[in-house]
C-alpha cells in the first residue's frame, strides 16, 4: 500500500470570471522514502495539490469537488476537521515557499518551532526547549540558543527557509510536502537548502513531495517526477527516464526550452504560445494548442493517463516514441 495515494482529485474555485478548475482529476501515489517532484509552470495546479492534501483549500471560493486522498490507509477527505488538523503538521507537514509570510513576525522563532510540540501535545525527551535547540543545530543555524530568541526579520531569507524546514520536520512526519522551498532564494543559498533537504531525506524514511518549476532542482533531488499541465498530470516517470526519454510533448518541450550552463546552444527551442486560460481550457487535451504533434483527435478526446512503460505513464494520444 502506498503511503499517500491521491485519486481523481478535482478542485475548483469560484472567480469573477467563472468557475476555474484548478485540478481536473489528478492521481498519483507516494511511497515511503521516496522523493516525488511535482513539476509544472505557474497555474498548472502544483500548489493547489499541496493545499488539498493539507486541507488548506479556502472554502469558499474553493471546493474539492471529487476524488480521494488516502494517507496510510485512511481517507483524508472523510475525516472530521479536528482529526484532519491533528494529522497535518504531525504526520503530514508542509514547507511553504515564502518563509517570511509563513512565519509569525511577532513571536521569536524558537517559540514558533516549540508551538509544533505544544499544539500536538508532545513532550519530547529532555523538554521542548532542548528539542528546539537540537533542531536549530541540525538545520545548521549557528549559535542556536541565542538565535531561538530572535524574530523572523532578524534572519536572512535562507535562514528563514531553514526555520520553516525545522518546523516541518519537528514531529518527524511521514510525508513532507515542500512547496517551491528554494524559489525565492539565491543560487548559493538554494544549494544550501537543497543539501539540507537531501540530508533530511537520507536520515528519515518519510516520503517527500517536492513542488517546483525548476528542472535543475528536480534533477538533483527527485526519484520520480509527475509533470503537471493545466490541472492534470501529463506524465510520470522516474527522474532518469524523464530527462533522457520524455514521452509527453509538453515534457519534451519543457526540457528543450531550458538553457544549459554547461553548453552553448545556438537557439533555444521554446514551446509556442502560453499556458491556457483556466476559465476557458481548450477542448480535449489542454496542451493541444501549443503541441507540435496535435491532430483532430486531440481536440475531441481528453487523453487519459496511461501506462507507456514499466512504472511510467503519459496522457497523450500521440506520445513521443522511445529514444
Amino acid at each position: 500500500m502506498a503511503l499517500l495515494e491521491v485519486k481523481d482529485l478535482q478542485v475548483s474555485f469560484d472567480t469573477a470570471s467563472g468557475r476555474i478548475f484548478a485540478l481536473n482529476g489528478v492521481s498519483f501515489s507516494l511511497e515511503r522514502g521516496e522523493v516525488l517532484a511535482l513539476l509544472g509552470e505557474s497555474g498548472s495546479g502544483k500548489s493547489v495539490t499541496a493545499s488539498a492534501i493539507m486541507d488548506l483549500v479556502p472554502n469558499p471560493p474553493g471546493a474539492i469537488d471529487r476524488g480521494s486522498i488516502r494517507f496510510d490507509g485512511t481517507e483524508l477527505l472523510k475525516l472530521s476537521r479536528t482529526a484532519r488538523r491533528d494529522l497535518c503538521g504531525s504526520r503530514i507537514a508542509l514547507i511553504f515557499q515564502d518563509a517570511l509570510a509563513a512565519l509569525n513576525p511577532v513571536y521569536p522563532v524558537g517559540w514558533q518551532i516549540a508551538e509544533m510540540y505544544r499544539i500536538h501535545g508532545r513532550n519530547p525527551e529532555g523538554g521542548v526547549e532542548k528539542a528546539v535547540i537540537d533542531l536549530l543545530t541540525a538545520i545548521g543555524i549557528p549559535d542556536p540558543e541565542r538565535r531561538a530568541r530572535q524574530y523572523p526579520h532578524e534572519f536572512s531569507g535562507g535562514m528563514r527557509q531553514r526555520i520553516m524546514i525545522a518546523m516541518a520536520v519537528a514531529l518527524e512526519p511521514d510525508v513532507i510536502i515542500a512547496d517551491e522551498p528554494t524559489t525565492a532564494l539565491d543560487v548559493t543559498i538554494q544549494a544550501q537548502v537543497v543539501d539540507l533537504l537531501a540530508t533530511i531525506r537520507k536520515r528519515s524514511d518519510a516520503g517527500m513531495i517536492f513542488i517546483t518549476h525548476d528542472l535543475g532542482v528536480v534533477a538533483e533531488l527527485a526519484d520520480r517526477v509527475a509533470v503537471m499541465y493545466a490541472g492534470r498530470i501529463v506524465e510520470t516517470a522516474n527522474v532518469f527516464e524523464l530527462f533522457e526519454d520524455a514521452r509527453h510533448p509538453y515534457s519534451v518541450g519543457l526540457l528543450a526550452s531550458q538553457p544549459r550552463l554547461d553548453t552553448d546552444e545556438d537557439e533555444l527551442v521554446p514551446i509556442p504560445g502560453s499556458a491556457p486560460n483556466p476559465v476557458a481550457l481548450p477542448s480535449g487535451c489542454a496542451f493541444r494548442t501549443r503541441c507540435p504533434r496535435a491532430e483532430a483527435l486531440c481536440a475531441e478526446v481528453i487523453p487519459p493517463l496511461e501506462t507507456v512503460g514499466p512504472g511510467r505513464q503519459a496522457a497523450c494520444h500521440f506520445p513521443v516514441s522511445p529514444a
Partner: protein
C-alpha cells in the same frame, strides 16, 4: 574609431553618508561596445539594480563617471538628459507592474513619440506601432487591447516593443525573463537575441539565472557586495572562472541532468552576504571564502588578468582556474 558605446569609470553609488553609508556600488569600471551584450550576474543585494538605476539616471551617482556615446550620464540634465534617454532604454523585470493598466497598447507604444516629436510624425504612429508589435511577435489587432488582456510573456513582449520605440543604441534589461515560465522565457530570450542582431543593439543584461546569461551574453561581469569581482568573455568566465565566488556560484546552479547527481563538484558557500554598510576589510568575499589568507584581510585585490584564460580579469589574491567545477 573603436570608442566603446558605454564607458563606466570608478562609478559609485552610496546610500547615506559617512561611516554608515551603504556602498551599494563601489568603484565600478567597465565598457560596452556597440552591438555587444554584457551580462551582469550576482545575488540579491550585490548592487546589480543600484548600478542599473545609476546608469539609467534613475538615481544620482555618488562619484565616478559613465559616458554613453560621448555624453556624461552622471552630469546630464534637461535637454541633454532627454536626448540621452532616447539612446538608452530599459526592459523591466515585472511586466505586470511596468505597463500602465489604463493605457491601451497603441497609447503605451506611442507615448515616447509624443515626448520626442521628431522621432516619428504623428500620422505614422499607427503604422509604426503595428510594425513594432509585429517585430516582437504580436499582431496588429493587439494595438487596441489593454495590458490586462495579455499573458506574462506577451506583456514582456510589449515591454520590449515599448523600449524599442525610439530606436535606442543601448538596451538595459533588468531581469527581463525571471518572472516568466521556462517555456515562455525561451521565447523572450530568442526574441531579444534576434532584435539585437537586426538592430545592432548593445545590451546590458542583468539576471541571476546564469544559464540564461550564458546564452545571451558576449561578455559577463560578476558582482559581489558592490564590486565587480570577475569579468571576461563568456567562454573564459564559464569554462575557466578563477574567482572562488564565481566558481561557487556556478557550481551551485543545479544541472538539469540527474546522471550528474553526486558526480559534480559542488562548492556550497557558508553563511550569507555580509552587510554592504559594513563590508569586510580587504577582499569583500573573504568571510565566505575557503581560500582566504591573511593578505585577503589586508589588501583589496585589484581586477586584473591573473590566469591564462583569454580576457579574464579577476579580483582575487588566490585566483586559480584549477579549482573550477
Amino acid at each position: 574609431m573603436n570608442q566603446p558605446l558605454l564607458k563606466v569609470e570608478h562609478l559609485s553609488r552610496h546610500f547615506g553618508s559617512g561611516a554608515t553609508a551603504v556602498r551599494a556600488v563601489d568603484d565600478v569600471s567597465f565598457e560596452i561596445a556597440r552591438g555587444e551584450t554584457l551580462g551582469l550576474v550576482g545575488e540579491s543585494g550585490c548592487g546589480k539594480t543600484s548600478l542599473v538605476r545609476t546608469l539609467l539616471k534613475l538615481g544620482p551617482a555618488t562619484s565616478g563617471s559613465a559616458v554613453l556615446d560621448g555624453v556624461e550620464i552622471t552630469k546630464a540634465s534637461g535637454r541633454e538628459l532627454h536626448e540621452l534617454r532616447r539612446k538608452m532604454q530599459v526592459v523591466f523585470q515585472d511586466p505586470y507592474q511596468s505597463l500602465n493598466p489604463r493605457l491601451r497598447v497603441d497609447r503605451l507604444i506611442s507615448e515616447p513619440w509624443s515626448l520626442h516629436p521628431d522621432a516619428v510624425p504623428k500620422a505614422r504612429w499607427r503604422e509604426e506601432t503595428v510594425k513594432l508589435l509585429e517585430s516582437v511577435g504580436l499582431r496588429a489587432e493587439h494595438a487596441d487591447r489593454y495590458p490586462s488582456e495579455f499573458s506574462g510573456g506577451q506583456r514582456q513582449r510589449l515591454g520590449i516593443a515599448r523600449a524599442l520605440t525610439l530606436d535606442p543604441t543601448l538596451l538595459v534589461c533588468d531581469e527581463p525573463v525571471s518572472a516568466l515560465d521556462v517555456s515562455v522565457q525561451a521565447q523572450v530570450v530568442n526574441l531579444l537575441a534576434r532584435l539585437r542582431r537586426e538592430r545592432n543593439l548593445a545590451m546590458l543584461f542583468v539576471a541571476h539565472d546564469l544559464a540564461v546569461v550564458r546564452h545571451v551574453s558576449d561578455r559577463v561581469m560578476v558582482m559581489y557586495l558592490g564590486k565587480i569581482i570577475e569579468t571576461g568573455p563568456k567562454q573564459s568566465i564559464f569554462s575557466a572562472p578563477a574567482h572562488p565566488y564565481t566558481q561557487a556560484l556556478m557550481s551551485a546552479v543545479p544541472t538539469p541532468d540527474p546522471r550528474l547527481r553526486g558526480h559534480r563538484k559542488r562548492i556550497v558557500l557558508e553563511g550569507d552576504l555580509p552587510s554592504p554598510a559594513n563590508p569586510p576589510s580587504g577582499c569583500r568575499f573573504r568571510t565566505r571564502c575557503w581560500k582566504a589568507t591573511s593578505i585577503c584581510a589586508e589588501q583589496e585585490p585589484g581586477l586584473t588578468a591573473r590566469t591564462a584564460a583569454p580576457g579574464l580579469l579577476t579580483a582575487c589574491h588566490h585566483a586559480n582556474a584549477e579549482a573550477a567545477y
